[in-house]
């Protein structure tokens, strides 16, 4: 088979496997990060000052450090402490911690955007705290939260590329390997960029569309 865009079929097969790891890592980042992030969001508006302070410290810690450093700490640092850390595990944990902090902050904002009166109204109906959250606040916050959440998924996908640095064989890593073999960096990295674009653009587009819809509904 002829080379497509200067890359052999074997290269394309490798890229495809890299792409699937990129998607996998993104999903882990989103799902696990979302789970932890939801906890962070709740903790950030908790009635307990200590819980609020600890969650804020966590957010500041993650949002103040480059993701690359976080990966280094996990990948190089933890084994020294006696914890074996393959690249995949380090990348998954790093993406989870990273996404949780940012998603937690985004969602906290959305929870706080639900008018105070709604919380009070729920209290007046003698709903328990979890009932108030589940039945009254979350359904309203969910609508506000959807566009920025989809928007942040783009950040997750793009940031998985950093896992290449610790040797995780996702798309950027495969790109580096192909470049080492072909010495065609310009072409290779443009192809890689195009593949990322194909993953991210639909999410960006969707996020924008949802946001416009929400703005119209609010008017």
């Amino acid at each position: 088979m002829a080379a497509l865009l200067g890359l052999s079929p074997a290269h394309w097969a490798a890229l495809l496997s890299g792409l699937s790891w990129t998607v996998f890592l993104s999903l882990v980042g989103f799902l696990a990060g979302g789970l932890v992030g939801f906890g962070v969001a709740l903790a950030r508006i908790s009635e307990s000052a200590i819980v609020r302070r600890i969650s804020l410290a966590y957010v500041n810690l993650i949002q103040g450090t480059p993701l690359l450093i976080l990966m280094f700490v996990l990948y190089f640092g933890l084994p020294v402490l006696g914890l074996e850390m393959p690249p995949l595990a380090a990348a998954c944990i790093a993406m989870t911690l990273f996404s949780a902090a940012y998603l937690g902050e985004i969602w906290r904002g959305c929870l706080e955007a639900v008018p105070r009166t709604q919380w009070e109204a729920a209290d007046c109906l003698a709903l328990a705290r979890w009932e108030r959250m589940l039945l009254v606040i979350l359904p309203q916050a969910l609508r506000i939260a959807t566009p920025p959440t989809v928007g942040f998924m783009v950040q997750i996908v793009k940031n998985t590329s950093i896992a290449s640095v610790i040797g995780m064989a996702e798309m950027t890593y495969i790109g580096k390997l192909i470049n080492n073999a072909t010495f065609q960096p310009f072409r290779t990295y443009l192809v890689i960029a195009a593949l990322y674009f194909a993953l991210c653009y639909p999410l960006s587009w969707l996020s924008r569309r949802l946001e416009r819809k929400l703005n119209v509904a609010h008017r």
Partner: protein
Amino acid sequence: MNYSFDFSFLRDYWPMLAEGLVLTVQLALMATVLGFLLGTACAVASTSRSRILRGLVGLYVEIIRNTPLLVQLFVVFFGLSSLGLKFSATTSAVIGLTINIGAYSSEIIRAGIESIHRGQVEAGDCLALSRWQVLAAIVLPTAIEKVYPALASQYVLLMLGTSIASQISAEELTAAASRIQSDTFRPFEVFLVVAALYIALSFLMRGMFWALGQFAFTRRRRLGTPL
């Protein structure tokens, strides 16, 4: 788990860390200033009447926002040099980071421009101000004031993003850390120290942006309205 921390590497290696820190600050500063200018120009272009100009800016913004910074830096550093455009690692980092943050700045500033009431522009027109005067004296100052917090957090993210420049061998803080840890085999301590430096830097940046905002937006300072 029985681990005794050892930070003694700091004694020998602190100059290396300091040099890396300086380059990190320089990269962040240059990309912020240049990216702000580029972003402002693009935001203005994206509100222009020319469809071609609007389309070009839109394309640039979408491409940058939907691809990883790491790959962008690879294209600039490895890609362009293979085409004969050779830049040093540091220059490539500045170019790549500027192009990257320019796109984000453009989107944010454009949102600010679009939020300005049409009557403001009309009032400027009616006072016989030229199109550029309206832009410079009325539209941009109010737009940027409105989106200043969003811009500031984007620039803090950019500062953290400079760590990725280590991957094209720019000798900034993260690169220095990698070198030190491979010399000392003290990765945990080295990266903890560097993480602390980044956190300190991001707090410092937020403080500086706050101070700059107080200085630049006189009205906010005088009336005490939060930014």
